[in-house]
Symmetry: C2
């Protein structure tokens, strides 16, 4: 009886880990967290299930790594829009808002990933820390931009002034992000970003202080 083993290619650690992370994302998006089993993830990545344990001591660590990667990608998208962007503080804020509310960060796919990881937090404590880091990182970015705008308007920039506004801006973006993800078909192209820009303008209008 001839052994008929499946041929394979030895890949670098980074390449394999990224491949498994992407496969995990795909499985979660396509079938929900329920269908994201080690076997399906491995199949999606084009390897066998046993290999996962070679790179991740347990499945939960793969999930954690995928969560971290997913969040990092989202914040990166928003922040990158500011790199090398010249203009007034308000213009920079607008660019940030548009980027945060544009595809691919705002999509059913992204929301499915986000909700799935959130639903695991109670049973995988390590995910809670990843969440907290990501959240604070994004809000800090909002604070910076709000501060710039207040300065430009000649208004005081104490923490007491900035933080509530940063929280509100963050909230508008979270909420519009949510709506954009969940009800893509309900909005015309650009409608969400337009509402976002107008909303943060309203929130930061001197009247609203």
């Amino acid at each position: 009886m001839t052994e008929n083993r499946r041929p394979f290619r030895r890949a670098s650690e980074q390449e394999r880990r990224m491949s498994l992370i992407h496969a995990t994302q795909t499985c979660i998006v396509e079938g929900g967290i329920r269908q994201a089993t080690v076997r399906k993830i491995a199949a999606e990545a084009g390897v066998t299930a046993g290999l996962i344990r070679h790179y991740f001591p347990a499945k939960d660590e793969l999930l954690c790594a995928t969560y971290r990667y997913t969040m990092a990608e989202m914040t990166r998208q928003s922040v990158e829009a500011l790199q090398g962007f010249e203009g007034t503080a308000v213009q920079r804020l607008h660019a940030f808002v548009r980027s945060a509310l544009s595809a691919p960060g705002t999509s059913p796919r992204q929301h499915q990933l986000w909700a799935s990881f959130t639903s695991l937090i109670p049973s995988v404590p390590a995910l809670a820390e990843v969440h907290r880091e990501s959240y604070l990182e994004f809000r800090a970015e909002c604070s910076v931009l709000v501060t710039e705008v207040l300065k430009e308007q000649g208004r005081p920039c104490t923490a007491a002034q900035v933080e509530p506004l940063a929280i509100a801006v963050n909230a508008v973006l979270d909420g519009l992000w949510l709506e954009g993800c969940l009800a893509t078909e309900l909005f015309e192209t650009g409608e969400i970003t337009a509402i976002g820009v107008r909303s943060v303008d309203a929130l930061l209008h001197p009247f609203a202080g």
Copy 2:
């Protein structure tokens, strides 16, 4: 060998179904969707696993019923605050905002339930319909309140005027709800609701039209 069967009480259908729904909520909140197994749900409800199938043909139908119940409770909380509330349109909107952003609707518990069900949508299509109904119901309520405010301000109330504002109001509430749920410890009591009230005021200020 003596049979030693556990004693039990025959309950009404409604009582049992509600008991199972509440048990499902508890299991999801305490252990995440992963731990919400038929056996743990049954134990939480004080019955044996087999009974679930007597009331729900399959586990997914119990999950669906629990999702519907959870969403209905949340919108009910916000709408009830308006029942018998007399005042200006702006005051009514404020009451709505405060209610929507107050406990128990805004809590880690509620968010955990919400995220968990969302994460199941790709593998349980029936949940998608429940989601859509709940979302549109809440946004319709926002539209009504926004229309009242615009009327009070003597502004036009066409759908083109109302809907973007309703979407934005909804978004602010969603976002603040999210933040309130996720980062309860970061905010002092009433801070979220205060930001919510100020934000919708800013959104509906004549300037923002």
